[in-house]
């Protein structure tokens, strides 16, 4: 038996934990649809009302400018495109992930994005008379090929180097735990038929593998990892512990 999701786009599934919390907290009309009993399980009514097609709510730009974010969105969309097999990096909100990560773990890459996105735009202007996100897909693809082949001047650390960086971050943003702002609606994990984090996996689970139905849970849907867990380290035997 194969994963029913294999060839279908994933079901609409608002899974961003921050959004769920917000819905609960704000007592929005749809909030009744959020199941409180089991973290990570959201009943259908809310899914339908918010749906995959509605614009993703509550995305701040933490580091990128709006113009930069537009270019980045388009790059992500080229790298892992949405197609008949299902949604891609854009829908998974890889660009949102990257924007957030540039304020934290990837802050050293901030300058690389600033300089290289501008360089890509300038090349696009020069070749096609419009910014990257405004040219047709085939032209975008040609520009990314040029980026990969080290042919876009003005990138940091280099044209090829920026390609590798943005590819890496787009993958991270598509396939990471949704806690980080990407892999929205578990689009990335469903794409790979990864059935999700299971704190306990039986032999039967293993044998089913990709055919298991995906549980669509973030690691942080488990209380163990989100609140101070009972301290099981015995005694912490020391008089001078911090």
């Amino acid at each position: 038996m194969k994963n029913p999701n294999k060839n279908n786009p994933p079901q609409p599934f608002p899974a961003d934990p921050s959004r769920r919390t917000l819905l609960k907290g704000a007592g929005l009309a749809g909030a009744v649809a959020v199941s409180a009993s089991s973290a990570g399980v959201v009943v259908a009514t809310e899914s339908q009302s918010l749906g995959n097609n509605s614009a993703p709510a509550l995305e701040a730009l933490e580091t990128l400018t709006a113009a930069e974010a537009e270019v980045l969105e388009a790059i992500c969309d080229c790298l892992i495109p949405s197609d008949e097999s299902g949604p891609g990096a854009k829908e998974a909100r890889a660009a949102h992930y990257i924007d957030r990560s540039l304020a934290s773990h990837n802050r050293d890459s901030r300058a690389h994005y600033l300089q290289s996105l501008t360089a890509l735009n300038e090349q696009s202007q020069k070749n096609y008379g419009a910014t990257f996100e405004n040219v047709a897909r085939d032209k975008q693809v040609t520009l990314i090929e040029a980026l990969q082949n080290d042919q876009i001047p003005g990138c940091l650390p280099s044209s090829r180097g920026f390609f590798a960086l943005v590819r890496d971050h787009t993958i991270d943003g598509t396939f990471c735990d949704p806690y980080y702002g990407g892999n929205r609606d578990f689009i990335g994990w469903d794409m790979l038929q990864y059935p999700g984090i299971r704190l306990s996996a039986s032999e039967t689970d293993v044998k089913q593998g990709s055919a298991l139905s995906p549980n669509h849970q973030s690691a942080y849907d488990n209380a163990t990892y989100t609140k101070m867990a009972a301290n099981t380290t015995k005694g912490q035997g020391g008089s001078r512990n911090a």
Binding site: D172, L192, K234, G237
Partner: protein
């Protein structure tokens, strides 16, 4: 002036895999032990099953002291060394928190590389510029301590040789052991079954590897649940037998162990006669002096060497225990690189696997096969395991079958996410002249002390093993039905590694060894060394169980020779 604290019997610098084991026999014998640990305690909240955090961002190590003192690396003495990463953990339990937990004994041959090679193949087979020596002890000397650690820490596996009785479900090439493992091995999986039967068809001898992971309730800890986030992740249910969950709590229970966390040792002090008197450490903004009758350093190879070289005195102007210029010498970074990857036509069912759940082959390791027609000594342990995670899957090589992005790439990874596998091949690595550790002349850590500098590269013997092992690995994958096989480069410079050996080698001759056969310094008899920095050969499998067996042995030696060691 440092604040002087009351004297204690023993100070252990570093409460990791080695220090955490040594503490138990010492405190059981009634000695008062102070454990100085640069990191703090971790708890289950630290062990999230989060691939991005653990594996891409290397959470366990990025916030650590170790990160600021990552060694610099160069292949040759003529080059300027460049700082790389540091793979180790700072925490109570040390790297046994987030290691893979493969828990191997060395092969008897590893202890006697020189004499065995001379006897079987002649002098010419030992590389000319290698400084390899036989260990001062044999496998049989260490066997009782392997056994103690396996039972106390909690190791699962299947014995291949119990008192001469061979069991082909275990490793038939292993040295004789006194009894079976305390727990059954981790379960097999569809993938390990596939690989095992392929190997068996070629008359090779596959077996499930040993792991410091519980497979039943052991010592009050539950069995492994196979969630599979061991690689650079701690275990939230304590199924991984880290010293923080096994020996350290027991040592604390004796009432004789006092652990000081966030204590960063910067110097080992000696008196004018050269006797070690204690250690200086930094905690917060304050400097303390902890006097002790005996000091044991267990801060991992790079830091063990650095602490000795930083501790200069009138008795030891070139660094502690370094009057024969042996500190930092005989260094080896285990050749763990040059893997082989394979693509299969079917799903491998590896989404819920762990790095220690796998199949090993020792047919091509050590001296388990005839090297007469070959131009190297030693060999490789071939290891395939079941760990698979989504980001890693998406970053897999496309085996020439797809571009690296776009629609076709997307289709490729969607189809093959659970169909590729990368082997882990550990190879005998020898010590050489000009492969060594010293202090970097310009790069400093966050408190202004020079970091360790690695000068080392693999030589012909290692590269020939790598090439040979890749042939065997390729054969194995193909026999199991792989459609594509990829071999990676053979290696050159030895970067900072999770398996660092030598630098304070153990041996009977004080001219070529820092430590004696018990792990105490020839030049400073109340200074003991714990860790793989003692080891004179690498073996072709992970070091930690050997490190722990040696640590236990050193601790027992100290207990029974307390008077002479502290005289």
């Amino acid at each position: 002036m440092p604040r002087s604290l009351p004297e204690t019997d023993v100070v252990i610098v570093g409460m990791g895999a080695a220090g955490g084991v040594a503490a138990l026999p010492l405190t059981n014998a009634g000695l008062k032990v102070v454990g100085l640990e640069a990191g703090g305690w971790l708890n289950p909240r630290d062990f999230a099953p989060d691939e991005l955090r653990n594996n891409d961002r290397n959470w366990p190590q990025t916030i650590q002291k170790a990160a600021s003192e990552a060694p610099t690396v160069r292949a040759n003495p003529s080059e300027t060394a460049v700082q790389g990463g540091h793979p180790m953990m700072n925490a109570v339990g040390g790297t046994s928190m987030h290691y893979w937990a493969q828990s191997w004994r060395l092969n008897p041959w590893d202890f006697k590389v020189v004499s065995s090679t001379l006897a079987r193949y002649g002098r010419g087979r030992i590389p000319e510029d290698s400084t390899v020596e036989d260990w001062p002890i044999s496998y049989e000397d260490l066997e009782p301590f392997y056994d103690k650690v396996e039972y106390t820490v909690g190791v699962s596996g299947r014995a291949g040789n119990v008192q001469g009785v061979i069991n082909s479900a275990g490793n038939i090439f292993e040295g004789q052991r006194r009894r079976e493992y305390p727990m059954q091995p981790l379960r097999s999986s569809p993938f390990t079954d596939l690989m095992s039967s392929a190997a068996a068809k070629m008359d090779w001898h596959p077996f499930q590897g040993p792991a410091a992971i519980t497979t039943e309730v052991y010592d009050g800890r539950p069995p492994c649940q196979y969630h599979g986030f061991c690689n650079k992740g701690g275990c939230h249910i304590q199924a991984k037998s880290s010293t923080a969950f096994s020996t350290i709590p027991k040592a604390i229970d004796t009432g004789n162990l006092d652990i000081v966390t966030f204590a960063r040792v910067t110097e080992i002090r000696t008196d004018v006669s050269g006797k070690v008197t204690g250690v200086e450490y930094l905690k917060g903004n304050e400097i303390f002096f902890q006097p002790a009758q005996v000091v044991l350093i267990a801060s991992y190879a790079y830091e063990n060497v650095r602490l000795l070289l930083l501790s200069k005195s009138s008795a030891f102007p070139n660094g502690l225990a370094n009057n024969s210029d042996q500190v930092g010498k005989h260094y080896m970074s285990h050749h763990q690189g040059s893997p082989v990857a394979a693509l299969f036509p079917e799903d491998l069912h590896n989404w819920y696997g762990l790095p220690a759940q796998g199949v090993a082959l020792d047919d091509w390791a050590d001296d388990n096969f005839d090297h007469s027609g070959l131009e190297f000594i030693g060999g490789a342990n071939l290891w395939v395991h079941t760990d698979r995670k989504p980001i890693g899957a998406a970053k897999m090589d496309t085996f020439g079958e797809a571009p690296s992005w776009g629609k076709d790439w997307k289709a490729f990874i969607a189809r093959n996410a659970d169909r590729s596998n990368t082997s882990y091949i550990q190879k005998t690595t020898l010590p050489y002249l000009n492969n060594y550790l010293d202090l970097d002349p310009s790069v400093k850590d966050s408190i202004g002390l020079p970091v360790t500098r690695i000068t080392a590269r693999y030589r012909e013997n290692e590269l020939r093993i790598a090439d040979f092992a890749q042939d065997k690995m390729e054969e194995w994958y193909r026999a199991a039905g792989a459609t594509h096989v990829l071999r990676f480069g053979l290696g050159n410079a030895m970067g900072a590694t999770t398996h660092a050996y030598g630098g304070t080698r153990m041996g009977d001759s004080p001219d070529t060894n820092v430590a004696d056969r018990w792990g105490f310094c020839h030049e400073a008899p109340n200074l003991g060394i714990l860790g793989a920095s003692l080891m004179g050969t690498s073996g072709s499998r992970n070091p930690t169980l050997t490190v722990q067996a040696l640590a236990w042995r050193t601790a027992e030696h100290l207990v029974s020779n307390w008077r002479s060691r502290t005289a």
